[in-house]
Amino acid sequence: MKFFNLIYSLFFRSNFFPIVFILTVIGIFWYLIAIPMNTEKVERKFKNLNSTEKIIQSWNLEKPKLPTPHQIVKEIVNTVFFKKISSKRSLVYHGWITLEATLAGFFLGTVLGILLALGIVHNKAMDLSLMPWVIASQTVPILAIAPMIIVVMNSVGVTGLLPKAIISMYLSFFPVVVGMVKGLRSPDQIQIDQMRTWSASSNQLLWKLRFPSSVPYLFASLKVGIAASLVGAIVGELPSGAIAGLGARMLAGTYYGQTIMIWSALFAAAFLAAFLVITINFIQNYTLKKMAILT
């Protein structure tokens, strides 16, 4: 009976089986689509293969058009666990370079976003003037701006982490501004009036009411912001001819036709993003529980 309960809850209560199911479907689809995509190359490379051998070869090419999951997993395992972390062939090394820029940019973006939101909420002129610019900033494609930032900063001698962090900041401040403006304005009129009847200063209003009220909104924004930060850091590595980082890894892969390398960097980036979002989610749950907002 206990066993059945366990199965039942795995199927209908947790998201374990749904996730496994979707992954399986994607995997099957992936292997199927890899066959026609890679056949041309197989036929060029090998002669006189029967169809079964063709299929197996199409899943195991050295430079396939579409690498298969097991090739990517093998490459990731290989470059994560069997290379020295300091080596340029280690995915951990490249991942760390990107993570550094991501975290720096995320921090800068969060601070900038909160400051702008405070300005918008507290200053009528900023409220009326700033938001259109904030929105406009996000309509410009980051791919167009990123090279300019890199080049301009390069010309004044700033290279490495900072230009990438700035691009990350550019992407991640936006959700924080939007979320925090909404969060800081989320207290009821009654609660604000109440503070007034106690002659609270605007500082007290901010720290005792507006800021605590905004915490749930802040976390929602941070989750979007950190993912955007990672995208920013990777994009920042593309045009700079950077030699390290997940973006550089993808770029190098494109140059040399190393599709497996591109895909493994892509997956590494995806795992990194998932890890970062989960981390923030964890901090959020802890904080909101501590604050007794989440019960």
Partner: protein, 257 residues
């Protein structure tokens, strides 16, 4: 003591000016329990908010213990209880009551003493560490009253504090509020739209009518200060309630129906 003289209050809205209060004059003596009753839009809440310096009269004079509303607020002459309890969900009952004390900069020991005192006063002992969502609506409103009492203001302004509660809870809180008023000798201004509530609680009932918001009648209650719930069946209670009802009706006469 609250003194209101010829107060006009006009809201500018998109649909043109709204005359929320017109020629309102009123004296509230120390220790009075004054109820403001009338249909919605009669300006009873606006009047209370004007006393609390949350709205500024367009014309006329308003003093609280001889001071302007703003000075009275700064000198903590009144506590205000709103329609909704407005408790902070991330603070316990104790933490919520502590909030105004923190803002006003009371010392640690004084905060403790005062919280203890008002929690006993509103009968929330044992619930200090509970969060608002763990309390019933009536208990939340009691915590809200405790919070308004915590800093010892002489005047308590209450804006339909029991409006959202069911009748059984409301009856109970009404008698508790009367006890509290007798114990603390505070001056209370109480906005309501319930005739029995107004008659049961008040020493003075101010009947108001809308468009423009104005006072149509001020009734001095002849009931004794000490009241039990069953006073509502007495002849005298019914007589006062009748007069309130007539006052409300006459305010509607000039309205196109």
């Amino acid at each position: 003591m609250i003194s209101v003289k010829d107060v006009d209050l006009i809201f500018e809205t998109n649909d043109g000016p709204v005359h929320a209060l017109k020629d309102v004059s009123l004296e509230v003596e120390e220790g009075d329990f004054v109820s403001f009753i009338g249909p919605s839009g009669c300006g009873k809440t606006t009047l209370l908010r004007a006393i609390a310096a949350l709205e500024i009269p367009t014309k006329g004079h308003l003093t609280i213990n001889g001071k302007s509303p703003d000075d009275a607020r700064i000198d903590r002459e009144y506590g205000y209880v709103f329609q909704a309890a407005g408790l902070y969900p991330w603070r316990t009952v104790e933490g919520n009551i502590k909030l105004p004390l923190e803002i006003m900069g009371y010392s640690q020991t004084e905060k403790k003493e005062r919280i203890q005192k008002v929690i006993e006063l509103v009968e929330l002992k044992g619930f200090e560490k509970k969060f608002p969502w763990q309390l019933s609506g009536g208990m939340q409103q009691r915590a809200s009253i405790a919070r308004a009492l915590a800093f010892d203001a002489n005047i308590l302004l209450m804006d339909e504090p029991f409006g959202a509660l069911d009748e059984i809870v409301r009856d109970r809180l009404n008698s508790e509020l009367l006890d509290l008023w007798m114990q603390t000798k505070k001056t209370i201004c109480f906005v309501t739209h319930s005739i029995p509530e107004a008659v049961f609680l008040s020493t003075k009932i101010v009947v108001m009518s809308p468009r423009p918001g104005r006072i149509t009648d001020v009734i001095k209650s002849t009931l004794p200060n000490k009241r039990e719930l069953n006073i509502r069946d007495s002849q005298e209670f019914i007589k006062i309630a009748q007069r309130v009802r007539e006052g409300l009706k006459s305010g509607h006469q000039d309205e196109v129906l």
